[in-house]
Symmetry: C2
Subunit: 385 residues, 2 copies
């Protein structure tokens, strides 16, 4: 007999759903070419600007986040243009793949897994090896749970009027202090199934005037992910192609919820949960994988010496219904990842840490039961004094 | 700004909802006088027998549990009949109120709050002060979190062919080993918003042949809660009055879920969570209120000396979104109650205990953070070895 176990998603996307947003979607039988839907779109677009912390337009696509990433290549570049890619994990590598399929020469600035991209190296490449039409990075590299210093990168790229900084902030948004307008993040990419607390299916891109200028000159082929076409339609609260209506309605509700707790509150919440999780890991004798700049969105933890992280992932699932993520690609078996992005609270962290303690004890790791929870509680107390 | 807090119901009804059962109800646009609905009713009635652990008919009413309790008075007794009521808290007192409004003389066997009813005293009353048409008790007294020994009571009442034992098992079902057929529990009452994991709105009564015999002779007035009329209709998978269709559909789904984890599994789960919660309370220097026979359905905990339990209730709600119950009536301020009935798992207990530790520390109670969680974890490990 299966035990009574609640399924508890601790993966860095999809994330736990905000039920009130799901409930709204259930009754959404709107047609998309109606004033009723346009009204929802207008409010959603306004609130997306709040969520992206920008005055610029934010585009919406019915796709996963990767679709908007592809658009940030196909809309910005022309044949013969070169791209500079900062990569420190699986999602950085996605930029390289995108450049390749469009025949774009990409110069790679690579950081070892677990470390952030070197801002100095990016600067050096721009100075000595340009010109580059665009610099592509992540705000947080989900595969290694590391944050990159996009503020510093923004300041550097701003000195190049013909170069855009494109930030995949799919897990960075809502978990990290991001200031696209102040920092010069020319294109910022997001996705729905992350800190927005709704299911997968929507991708976003905020685009500033510098980027729109370069987009006008770009010659790579694009159709579905045509940023300029989408901008023109969104100005009328329309979309180029059939929008994912129920997801937009969920998004509308979720953004209202996020406004009610404030973007700063959402980011501070993720930061607190991430710090609590790292403190718990340390207290349990486990090492967070990030050597510096750990992300707020997700914490990657190394299993005890000689233990495959897949064992921990499996035990958490079968004993506690808790779904945490294994490492991806070459990191499989070497880390497990616990998410904090979106609809998580302190009680969730206490629960997953207590469950982890039991799993660690079961696989023979020496654990003082409750000590990881205590470390997490202490962070909660310090942060909410 | 409100913080991001998930609402977490730890009240002994309503309890956390099984979402897959809720989702089923959403699409239930069935009319109740159709074969499609009758098919659901037939399956539900079969599964209710499984849930009640009985071969007898189980009646369904669109009402709260109290409606079926009223029926167990109005259907069993006649003017001039006398009732014996075992009471040890607010729900025991409800039997006295019901007897009173029907003009039935009720003899009370009272236990102090926090203690179970004395089986000896019930026996003594039956022997020396009869005849009684019915003995009314709870399986578990929710207001004090104490279990009564209905098995022993059943064995005693079985010796009186003209006396029925009526057990309010509204919180006992699905949390306690109950064997109505073996033990002679002649009428057993249940409600939907408890271990069944669905919303309030349905009441249940299982009735055995001994009780049906007495019901035939009974002369008190009843209409909506007419047990015999309902039985006749249920035999055709019909109901006397409009059934609460969506709740029946939810119930159908919830009972299928309970079958999948087994009734024994559900009861063992509640027992484990209750034991873990008591162990945590003890480790934190708090006393469970039950002096003996603590219930599996809910644990009542005394606050630290000099602290109003309402403060703990409020702090858990505002800091962690966790809703626990205060004491009822004269117990208000003296205990708080944490539920385990239905859709709860070990991770829920770890979370609420960790939250409680923080609240206790905040109100000045000396607490070793993590020590309550550790005690709960140790129970989990012992119980799931």
């Amino acid at each position: 007999m299966p035990a009574l176990l609640k399924e508890r998603l601790f993966t860095p996307g999809p994330t736990p759903l905000l039920m009130e947003a799901q409930a709204r979607a259930l009754t959404a039988t709107l047609h998309h070419r109606t004033e009723a839907f346009r009204q929802i779109m207008r409010e959603t677009l306004e609130n997306l600007k709040y969520y992206f912390n920008t005055k610029n337009d934010v585009l919406i696509f019915a796709s996963s986040g990767t679709g908007a990433m592809e658009g940030a290549v196909s809309n910005l570049l022309s044949p013969g243009d070169r791209a500079l890619v900062g990569t420190a994990g699986k999602f950085g590598e996605r930029w390289l793949e995108l450049a390749k399929v469009y025949g774009i020469e990409a110069v790679k600035v690579e950081a070892p897994y677990g470390e952030p991209i070197s801002v100095e190296e990016i600067k050096n490449q721009l100075t000595t090896n340009g010109p580059f039409r665009a610099v592509y990075v992540q705000a947080t590299e989900t595969s290694t749970a590391v944050s990159h210093d996009v503020k510093a990168l923004g300041a550097i790229v701003a000195q190049y009027p013909e170069t855009c900084l494109v930030v995949d902030a799919i897990t960075g948004l809502g978990t990290t202090d991001l200031r696209p307008d102040e920092w010069g993040l020319d294109i910022v990419i997001g996705g729905s199934q992350k800190a927005l607390m709704i299911p997968p299916g929507l991708a976003f891109a905020s685009v500033n005037e510098k980027a729109w200028g370069l987009i006008q000159k770009s010659k790579l082929p694009r159709y579905y992910f045509d940023y300029a076409k989408e901008r023109k339609n969104l100005a009328k609260a329309e979309s180029s192609y059939t929008p994912a209506t129920t997801l937009v309605v969920s998004l509308h509700a979720a953004l209202n919820y996020i406004r009610s707790i404030s973007l700063e509150g959402l980011v501070a919440n993720a930061a607190m949960l991430a710090e609590a999780t790292r403190a718990a890991a340390n207290a349990l004798g486990l090492k967070p994988f990030a050597k510096s700049s750990p992300a707020n969105a997700v914490t990657a933890i190394c299993p005890p010496e000689g233990v495959d992280s897949g064992v921990i992932v499996k035990e958490l699932r079968t004993r506690f219904g808790a779904i945490v993520a294994n490492g991806q690609g070459t990191m499989k078996g070497k880390i497990f990842r616990v998410a904090h992005l979106g609809y998580y609270d302190a009680a969730d962290v206490f629960a997953i840490v207590a469950a982890l303690e039991i799993v660690l004890q079961k696989i023979g790791h020496k654990v003082e039961l409750g000590s990881g929870v205590r470390a997490a509680q202490e962070v909660y107390l310090r942060r909410s004094a």
